[in-house]
């Protein structure tokens, strides 16, 4: 009782000053939809929190200094060796600070988990179409966060100034230097003179512990606020429409679940840090510009850039006494630039091509957007081949394949692979759509064969249960191209005229390619739209689907009224 009174007292005290009772009450009952894939974003958030906590711990001892010292600490194999203070203080954290090694490893594992989480989350959002209106801003914020995460990770693992990270910095310098016109200047400004100099570690340090985490924190806050404000998307299912959110309330359900999940994420990185060694800088030795060991690999999220550098043929152009080092700046900038720019533009391109300007709060099943899914798998293939090529020497050694074969396979693969992946994925998606149609129209096969009195054999089927049917029938048609007011005339609507209009029409056919929507049994569960939409004639103008005029005026939303 006294606890309750204390709480009530605190609440009253706060409410007298903040006027929160009403708003916070609504907040507490805010509904959060549930799906395992929604946990991916939470992994990122929690690993970021762990990174902030463990990173702060590490700063208490780390010395971001490139001043030469002779080591006399607890790690005997390096006694008397010349090294930078940064490296020496990292050894100190590892061997002389209790819990130092653990926290260092948790920090590194969390960073890897953070990046892996971002990738998985981004893939989930892309394939379910969760980036669609009104969530385009959050998608863009996510891409910026990904980029910041890459930089934050690269700068972070460069700080100990060990042999491996020094090589990474050397590569960074070579890449910056290759940029036409300004590269040499940029490199000199970044490093404060020639490589390695004495300034790069302190500079990366302040970027790593203040500027970039500050930006990430601000963007994560904006990302979460928007998610909160727009309400989370939900997976298709019974009773779930674009006009509602079905799930459990924030208090107590979501709070308790997400709290538990925080412990699981923390436990996972703690277990990894306890049992799986990561970045053993004491084995690499301090940086020196003369030595390098075979099989050097960056952290996994840099592997794609590493692979791009490895796969590039030796092209350069030296006109009028200046060097265009295509062999360096093209792989460093183009592949990742292509992926990020493509990802950033895609929601708007898709909207323009399909004319679908409705709000979407129910996620797509990947199969229900075959072109998007195929494009995504194509991009993943592109990324994956470059990523594997980033470890071509390791692959060559472990699988006994000639190194150059792997590189040549990757050179061909990055062009052919995505195309093949696109075609196969699209066929699989269309096939799955037809399978769904079959289930909707004919039900589930039971394996029971029955002979009719007339001698005919039939297989018995049973209808799909309600919950599954709601998922199966969640597919909707895209609005038809063009607008209703042009039905009567032969003049194509604005946006459909001229060359660009023809391009759009072609793209429309590709992007909206789908199996015809099933004519279900009209099973009375509010999916009537599947029947109403008039087939698959996309070219037909003004089929009345409202083609993106009225916000939220789509068929699927009316289906459940």
């Amino acid at each position: 009782m006294s606890v309750e009174r204390a709480l009530e007292g605190t609440g009253t005290w706060l409410d007298d000053r903040l006027h929160g009772a009403r708003g916070v009450r609504v907040l507490l009952r805010k509904v959060f939809p549930d799906h395992w894939s929604f946990l991916l974003g939470e992994i990122i958030l929690y690993s970021f929190i762990i990174l902030l906590l463990t990173g702060t711990f590490l700063t208490f001892w780390f010395q971001p200094s490139m001043t030469d010292v002779i080591y006399h600490g607890s790690y005997l194999p390096l006694h008397g060796v010349r090294m930078s203070e940064a490296y020496a203080s990292t050894l100190n954290i590892t061997f002389d600070v209790r819990g130092g090694l653990l926290i260092r490893q948790i920090h590194h594992w969390s960073a890897d988990l953070f990046m892996a989480g971002i990738m998985a989350h981004m893939i989930r959002v892309f394939f379910t179409g969760a980036y669609r209106k009104p969530r385009e801003i959050n998608w863009l914020i996510g891409i910026i966060l990904f980029t910041l995460g890459l930089l934050e990770g690269l700068f972070g693992y460069s700080l100990p100034d060990d042999l491996l990270s020094g090589a990474g910095l050397r590569i960074l310098e070579g890449v910056v230097q290759s940029i036409p016109l300004v590269g040499t200047y940029l490199a000199f400004f970044l490093f404060g003179g020639p490589f390695p100099g004495h300034l790069i570690i302190p500079r990366l340090y302040i970027l790593h512990v203040l500027l970039i985490p500050g930006l990430i924190l601000a963007l994560v806050t904006a990302h979460l606020f928007l998610m909160f404000h727009q309400k989370h998307t939900q997976m298709p299912g019974k009773g779930r429409t674009n006009k509602n959110v079905v799930g459990a309330p924030l208090y107590p359900y979501f709070m308790a679940k997400t709290g538990a999940f925080f412990f699981f994420v923390f436990a996972a990185v703690a277990l990894a840090a306890t049992f799986v060694q990561i970045n053993p800088i004491w084995l690499y030795g301090p940086f020196n510009p003369v030595a390098m060991s075979a099989g050097s690999q960056p952290d996994f999220y840099m592997g794609m850039l590493e692979g791009a550098l490895r796969v590039m043929p030796a092209w350069q152009w030296v006109p009028f006494g200046h060097t265009f080092a295509f062999n360096v700046f093209i792989p460093a900038l183009v592949p990742l630039g292509l992926l990020f720019t493509g990802a950033a533009l895609w929601p708007f391109l898709e909207q323009w091509v399909t004319g679908d300007r409705r709000e979407h709060h129910v996620n797509d099943r990947p199969r229900n957007a075959p072109t998007r899914t195929a494009l995504g798998i194509g991009m993943i293939t592109f990324y994956g081949i470059l990523w594997a090529e980033g470890a071509n020497d390791v692959l060559a050694a472990n699988f006994d394949v000639p190194l150059y074969w792997i590189t040549w396979a990757a050179r061909v693969g990055i062009f052919v692979g995505p195309v093949i992946a696109y075609i196969i994925t699209k066929r699989i998606c269309l096939g799955l759509q037809r399978k769904d149609n079959h289930l909707i129209e004919h039900g589930v096969e039971t394996g029971i064969i029955r002979q009719l009195p007339g001698g005919e054999f039939i297989e018995e089927t049973r209808p799909v249960d309600e919950d599954s049917l709601a998922v199966l029938t969640s597919r909707t048609d895209y609005p038809a191209l063009g607008t209703a007011d042009t039905v009567e005339s032969d003049v194509p609507p604005a946006g459909m005229r001229g060359g660009i209009g023809r391009v759009r029409e072609r793209l429309y056919k590709v992007v909206t390619e789908s199996a015809p929507i099933a004519n279900g049994h009209g099973n009375g569960h509010g999916n009537g739209h599947a029947i109403e939409s008039n087939g698959h004639d996309h070219a037909a103008i003004g089929t009345g689907a409202g083609s993106g005029s009225g916000p939220g005026g789509s068929e699927s939303e009316d289906g459940h009224s």
């Binding site: 070579g174 009773g239 277990l271």
Partner: protein
């Protein structure tokens, strides 16, 4: 009763959690009758009579009986005097299982607490300061921490799943776009402000203000100028010059051709006096390779020739190449004796050491520059000059 799915004036979404819906009466005023989900309430609470009021969103628990479906939330009027209808059940789905689960959860938490104490004890008793000490400390601290966190997670999960009753609520969404009236009002306010500020009417104020801030915007770029010196010609040369001895990297001692006589050997060397200077070594690191007679494609004379080794820059079939890869500057540290290939471990640029280190595979575009070497009076290997071309990665000014 009103249709819960009727189009909504999106303003409610904001107010819902910022103000609890108090301000609905103003601009959004009309807030369209059933807009507030409260209209769905069947409790006869008069939601329809107070269209300007917004209540919390309409919700449905699980799959409730049809009658109850629409009664779950009474509209919260100004005083909040209306009693709230209970939305969440108070008892678990299965009381018998819950009773067992309660014990399991408590056990998890108690064990988590014990493991947590274990962490504190381990911190106190396991010292570091040696390799094994750090290992043991890591194992014990990490092990106890992991167990604590894992048990907390497991306990909390069982708690949610077994002790808390299953609940599914449905909350209405609202279109993000604002009501046209709100938009119009916003535009009016905006325009009023712009007008009152005179910013639009008096271009001279506007333009001079913009002009005044321009240099301020550029200033930070100027401030960054002193981040580093200008490169100048510094990338074109290294510290190598005529007469500098080649010191073996590691032992820091000069070397004679006789000491380096077994063919197929490779050694990293640096210029005398600069071995501990990382800035100098980042460009001046050199490998010397000993060949058998006849293995090397020599070009007579004193100038670099494509795909050839300059014969007069070698001593006794010992050839010196820059160790800094011409791709992005990693040390090209791997050498394959049988094929005479120099391989950079970073991106696998491969150079043929017998042919003037020409590129035979990989992303590097240029051969590793050859360092002219000779011997001094004491018979030690020396450089007879700097590299003829810039070493290391390409850069814009390089011709």
């Amino acid at each position: 009763m009103s249709n819960p799915n009727s189009p909504d004036s999106g303003d409610t979404a904001w107010q819902e959690y910022l103000t609890g819906g108090e301000q609905t009466a103003s601009a959004g005023g009309a807030s369209t009758g059933g807009a507030s989900a409260a209209g769905a309430s069947a409790g006869g609470s008069g939601a329809a009579d107070q269209p300007e009021e917004t209540a919390g969103p309409r919700r449905v628990i699980g799959t409730p009986p049809p009658a109850a479906a629409r009664t779950l939330l009474a509209p919260a009027d100004d005083g909040g005097a209306q009693p709230l209808v209970r939305e969440l059940p108070s008892d678990p789905d299965d009381p018998a299982r819950a009773k067992k689960a309660e014990l399991v959860v408590a056990a998890c938490f108690i064990l988590a607490m014990l493991a947590g104490f274990g962490f504190l004890v381990a911190y106190g008793i396991v010292g570091v300061g040696s390799i094994t000490g750090a290992q043991h400390s890591n194992l014990l601290l990490g092990g106890t921490l992991s167990i604590t966190l894992l048990l907390l997670g497991i306990g909390a999960t069982i708690w949610v799943r077994q002790l808390m009753p299953t609940v599914e609520l449905t909350e209405q969404r609202h279109v993000m776009a604002s009501d046209p009236k709100d938009k119009a009002a916003f535009k009016e306010t905006w325009d009023e402000g712009a007008e009152t500020s005179q910013f639009v009417k008096r271009p001279i104020v506007r333009r001079s203000l913009i002009a005044a801030t321009l240099p301020l915007g550029i200033a930070p770029i100027f401030l960054l100028r002193d981040l580093g010196p200008l490169p100048g010609k510094s990338l074109d040369t290294t510290v190598w010059r005529k007469g500098l001895r080649l010191l073996v990297y590691g032992t820091n001692r000069p070397i004679t051709p006789a000491e380096f006589s077994s063919p197929g050997s490779i050694i990293s060397v640096g210029p005398q006096g600069f071995l501990n200077d990382d800035d100098a070594m980042a460009k001046a690191a050199v490998i010397i390779i000993k060949f058998r007679p006849g293995e090397v494609d020599y070009a007579p004379g004193w100038r670099p020739v494509a795909n050839k080794v300059v014969e007069n820059w070698t001593v006794d079939n010992i050839v010196a190449y820059s160790k800094i890869c011409t791709h992005v500057g990693c040390p090209a540290a791997l050498y394959e004796q049988t094929t005479h290939h120099i391989l950079c471990p970073c991106h696998q640029s491969t150079f043929d050491a017998t042919q003037g280190a020409r590129v035979i595979f990989g992303p590097a575009t240029r051969p590793l520059p050859q360092l002219p070497i000779g011997v001094d009076k004491q018979g030690f290997l020396i450089a007879t000059g700097d590299f003829a071309v810039p070493v290391g990665p390409s850069f814009w000014e390089r011709s």
